[in-house]
């Protein structure tokens, strides 16, 4: 399931992509062409939830309740175990514990890079915020953005709710700018299904579109030639986006594709996230996108969890203490609800026929959260789960890289995992994000 690289993409070129923005757009354009020849390109789904986890009830256990080994563990070992709902799917999971956002503990920014802002920036970019006065942006893209571009697809980025004031998204473009998420399902319905190139276009219309695209590319190159770095990056990004547009306009939409119905529930209802997931699944089913990032945050108040009228972040996540069994259990109940949503998504993908199997067989899911230790907002032991049938990585495995709560060194940067996930899509990245942490995750491929 690992598409062959385009022969003209050199490792040196990709190194330059890794080190900075450089020629990223151009070379990633070549990668897209390589994928375009593969009729069955893989799907990528990134799921992100706030609040972190309680490792005590999150990590797998052996059947007898003892510490889990790499294989042969159970997830539903306790009524409140965080990952319990994923038990039926565990053979396809790679669970990784012990990764740190090392990028946020390096250099001069360490004092301001931790807590929410740094976590939001680092989780899927592998980079620290730009500066103390510029904490919500970084210096490069998130892994979903890079994969979406490699797939030549328009990604669907959605969050039901952001944190007040500063959380607009968790995805970043090449320049390290937040990519605004969609958040209104009705608007998304109109945008994605209201108008689309569903009908076969006349040849003349295709030629007219082609003439427009050629003109746009010429204009972008002309303007780019007048700019010095870093302004030139804006036009590099524009050229790359035009390439993506070109690919999208050529893509057929399945003739039998139907738009999802109007949402019957709204934010504040337990079922709202599933409605968002159903919408996402239909996008995949229709071939309208091959890359989805969902922020699973549905707000501070979640009465259906069973914790009563409490604030999920202030009263649950903040109150977590590893030595307080009640607090551990409360946080795990919250995390378990997120896991139930992930399980629903997985089961839905398994029910979606694709080729001789299901869409799940052709999907890589990366599930991430913002903290390892939410009570202290630490960036250690960040929880990650890789799911899906696609990819040559290990499945049914638990990689426990460490359990230390305090940041000790730079031996377990989460950049390694992001690199490995990117390389499942044939990117052949020498590293991802902070250039001080090159390499793949040991044990990822077995």
């Amino acid at each position: 399931m690992r598409p062959a690289m385009h022969p003209s993409v050199s490792r040196r070129a990709l190194l330059s992509t890794f080190a900075g923005l450089g020629a990223a757009g151009y070379f990633q354009g070549l990668l897209r062409d390589a994928f375009a020849k593969d009729e069955k390109s893989p799907l990528f789904v990134l799921l992100w939830n706030p609040h972190g986890c309680a490792p005590e009830l999150w990590r797998p256990r052996a059947a007898d309740g003892s510490a889990a080994l790499e294989k042969g563990w159970v997830l539903d070992f306790d009524p409140d175990s965080s990952l319990g709902p994923l038990e039926p799917h565990k053979d396809s999971l790679l669970i990784v514990e012990g990764l740190d956002f090392s990028c946020n503990y390096q250099g001069d920014n360490w004092a301001v890079s931790t807590a929410h802002d740094g976590a939001k920036v680092a989780t899927i970019t592998g980079r620290a915020p730009r500066a103390p006065s510029d904490q919500l942006r970084t210096t490069g893209p998130s892994i979903d953005h890079v994969i979406a571009r490699a797939l030549g697809t328009r990604p669907f980025y959605f969050k039901p709710l952001g944190y007040p004031l500063n959380f607009t998204s968790v995805s970043y473009d090449d320049a390290g700018e937040e990519i605004p998420f969609e958040y209104d399902l009705l608007e998304s319905l109109r945008d994605w299904f209201g108008v689309g190139p569903a009908a076969q276009k006349a040849e003349e219309r295709v030629d007219a579109d082609s003439a427009v695209l050629s003109f746009l590319q010429a204009d972008a190159r002309r303007l780019r030639s007048r700019l010095a770095a870093p302004e030139r990056l804006k036009l590099d990004a524009h050229l790359d986006a035009l390439h993506v547009l070109e690919q999208r306009l050529k893509r057929p939409v399945k003739a039998d594709c139907a738009a999802p119905g109007l949402p019957e529930v709204s934010l504040g209802d337990e079922g709202y996230l599933r409605t968002v997931m159903d919408f996402s699944l239909q996008l995949l089913n229709c071939g309208l996108t091959e890359c989805i990032t969902l922020n699973l945050d549905v707000g501070q108040t979640m009465p259906w969890i069973g914790l009563g009228d409490v604030q999920m972040h202030d009263d649950v996540a903040h109150q977590y203490r590893p030595d307080d069994p009640l607090r551990v259990r409360q946080l795990s109940m919250l995390q378990r609800w997120y896991a139930s949503q992930v399980a629903y998504f997985i089961q839905s993908l398994k029910s979606l026929p694709q080729g001789s199997g299901s869409a799940y067989d052709n999907t890589v899911i990366l599930w991430a959260s913002e903290f390892g230790d939410p009570g202290r907002h630490m960036h250690t032991q960040a929880p990650y789960v890789v799911a899906g049938g696609a990819g040559a990585h290990q499945k049914g495995r638990f990689l426990q890289l460490g359990t230390a709560g305090e940041y000790a060194d730079a031996t377990r940067p989460h950049n390694h995992l992001l690199t490995s996930v990117g390389n499942l899509f044939g990117l052949e990245l020498p590293g991802f994000g902070d250039a001080r942490f090159p390499g793949e995750l040991s044990g990822f491929l077995g």
Binding site: A111, S133, P164, L165, L223, L227, A237, H318, R376
Partner: protein, 601 residues
């Protein structure tokens, strides 16, 4: 961690904030912030700290500058870099409206939201994402058929449809004129030739048997598709004449015209401004200011909208964002209708304010706008004559000046700075600190002691719950810088409704203005706080900074301190006139020479 401490003095907070950019690259930063975070007040103070406060003595640069009538202070240190600035959503909307009509302008709302480092939509560092380009493609598809207004503007008539030759001649004329308006500059012949190819490709979609008029329409639609998606439409340039290698390159007259017009009204240059650009007058700040003043006078409704955007983004009022959500079990009146009413009220408040445009009025006027949906927030009865048949949906009301004062007590602002279930002294206090005083609170520490649960008998009020921030030394080190200001808003619940009691306990809204001066004036409530803020030189200086960020699209640096100080003095001398302040910034920025283009093929 240090032992019990009273934390940092307000003065030290201001000093640390001013030091922050330079300290950030130093190991001392770690020490300083670590001491702050640990609640220790032994942070080493710098020997000298430049104070951009208007309260200090004017510098030489400031003394040489004057207010509204003189040459604006220059912000140039090294020459500013040539750059391109992506149009904001509002700028796209206004540009499309002027080109193709209001219906087409409204399509701009489908573009992804603006975001950038300064948190103003005008941030100069924004580029485009794949989503943006995709949205723009969609927009152009919908816009292209709506050519009627453009055809009329460019005087294309039935004669153009007489035969194919006439149609093509009209098309070339249309392309040059329409594209010049869309791109805010005359096009090069090469560009017109390329658009002619686009036109020919579009003509073919009408079919080989199509009448000349139909082919012309189809071809021009394809041209409009191309023009509206082009980087030259999306980005306005600040580069100067192509090929110039002079040490300081002035903007071209067309670039300056666009900078003025977009800066003040979020709109493309009007006919007179275009004509002025074609005449090629030398660009001085005075000439630019005169043109800018004319633009303001000619397009007050566009300025009003721009001023509204500025204030909304400055204060973070965005009811369209997911941030404004309330727990409907506790706040059953938090309906979509209420949200829409509060949003509309904000618009009416700010647009009315923009007429006089005084910062003092913005912060102190006791005015509200009520409809049936938000009247209860002001104690206006549902059966008020304000809502009789035939009355406008919204009416301006003078609210009790003891309970409301200016934009900071608008429910939209207060509700944006609250949690789903409770008010938030922290969010509100930090907002005053950041947005009105330009002080930066330290980052959230790694270890955060828990607050008591909400609304227990021991802590019936939000204030009592948050009191731990000042009773625990560890917390007080940071919270004393903003909680005293946040507490003054405790008369307003999570929706911004006024309350005297919370959970049957009396509300205590006493607090203080913590602005960095050694004296910390005490206030009884938010109304008193607003009054102090309106006359604070720190606030005036901060507002001048915010206006700079909005108009320039970038954050000021230390070396701008003299210019900012001078501008603050001019702003105060001008009775805090915001329109004049924006005009001066825009004009001085448009007059600024740029470093020569270093682009490569």
């Amino acid at each position: 961690m240090c032992g019990a401490t009273d934390g940092l003095t307000p003065r030290m907070w201001r000093m640390l904030n001013e030091m922050a950019p330079r300290l950030a690259s130093s190991p001392w930063a770690r020490l300083a912030w670590a001491l702050v975070l640990s609640g220790c007040n032994a942070a080493p103070a710098p020997a000298t700290v430049p104070t951009p406060s208007a309260g200090g003595p004017p510098s030489a640069a400031a003394a040489g500058s004057s207010g509204a009538g003189g040459t604006p202070p220059s912000l140039t240190q090294p020459l500013a870099e040539g750059r391109v600035r992506r149009l904001t959503r509002l700028e796209v909307e206004n540009t499309l409206t002027d080109l193709l009509g209001e219906d087409v302008g409204a399509l701009a709302k489908s573009l992804e939201a603006d975001s950038g480092a300064t948190k103003f939509s005008t941030a100069a560092d924004r580029g485009v994402s794949s989503n943006y380009v995709s949205d723009l493609n969609h927009l152009a598809e919908l816009a292209a058929p709506h050519l009627a207004q453009a055809l009329e503007a460019e005087r294309l008539n039935d004669a153009c449809a007489k035969d194919a030759t006439s149609a093509d001649a009209c098309a070339r004329s249309f392309i040059a004129a329409f594209a010049g308006r869309a791109w805010r500059r005359p096009l090069a012949e090469t560009e017109i030739d390329e658009l002619s190819i686009v036109y020919e490709a579009g003509k073919n979609t009408a079919g080989p048997e199509a009448a000349p008029g139909a082919s012309l329409q189809a071809g021009l639609e394809n041209v409009v598709r191309a023009l509206l998606q082009a980087p030259s439409f999306v980005f306005r340039t600040e580069l100067g004449a192509p090929g110039s290698t002079d040490a300081g390159v002035p903007l071209t007259p067309f670039e300056a015209a666009a900078a003025l017009s977009y800066g003040l009204t979020a709109s493309p240059p009007d006919e007179e401004l275009r004509q002025w650009a074609e005449n090629g007058e030398p660009l001085t700040a005075d000439v630019l200011r005169a043109q800018g003043r004319r633009v303001l006078a000619m397009h007050p409704e566009r300025y009003a909208r721009q001023a509204e955007v500025f204030v909304r983004e400055w204060l973070g009022i965005d009811l369209g964002s997911p941030a404004w959500r309330k727990d409907t079990t506790l706040y059953p009146r938090a309906t979509p209708e209420l949200k829409a009413a509060l949003d509309r009220e904000t618009t009416l408040f700010l647009r009315q304010w923009s007429v006089g445009s005084s910062l003092r009025e913005l912060l102190t006027v006791p005015r509200g706008y009520v409809s049936r949906n938000n009247a209860w927030l002001y104690g206006v009865a549902d059966d008020s004559p304000l809502f009789s048949d035939g009355a406008p949906e919204f009416s301006a009301v003078d609210v009790d000046p003891r309970t409301r004062a200016g934009v900071l007590t608008l429910p939209s602002f207060l509700g944006s700075l609250a949690h789903e279930a409770t008010s938030s002294p922290v969010l509100r206090g930090v907002a005053v600190m950041r947005k009105l005083l330009c002080l930066q609170p330290p980052p959230v520490p790694a270890v955060i002691p828990p607050l008591p649960p909400a609304a227990t008998s021991a802590t019936p009020t939000t204030r009592a719950r948050y009191a731990q921030h000042t009773s625990v030394a560890f917390c007080a080190g940071c919270h004393q810088a903003f909680d005293p200001m946040g507490y003054t808003f405790e008369h307003y619940d999570a929706l911004g409704a006024y309350r005297d009691q919370e959970n049957d306990a009396p509300v205590d809204s006493s607090g203080a203005l913590v602005d960095g001066d050694s004296s910390v004036p005490q206030v009884a409530d938010a109304v008193e706080l607003a009054s102090l803020l309106a006359s604070s030189s720190h606030v005036h200086n901060c507002f001048v900074r915010q206006a700079y960020r909005f108009t320039s699209g970038q954050t000021e640096s230390d070396v701008d301190a003299d210019a900012l100080s001078a501008r603050t003095q001019a702003f105060e001398a001008d009775d805090l006139n915001v329109a004049e302040l924006l005009l001066d910034w825009v004009a001085s920025l448009a007059a600024q020479p740029r470093s020569p283009s270093l682009g490569e093929p």
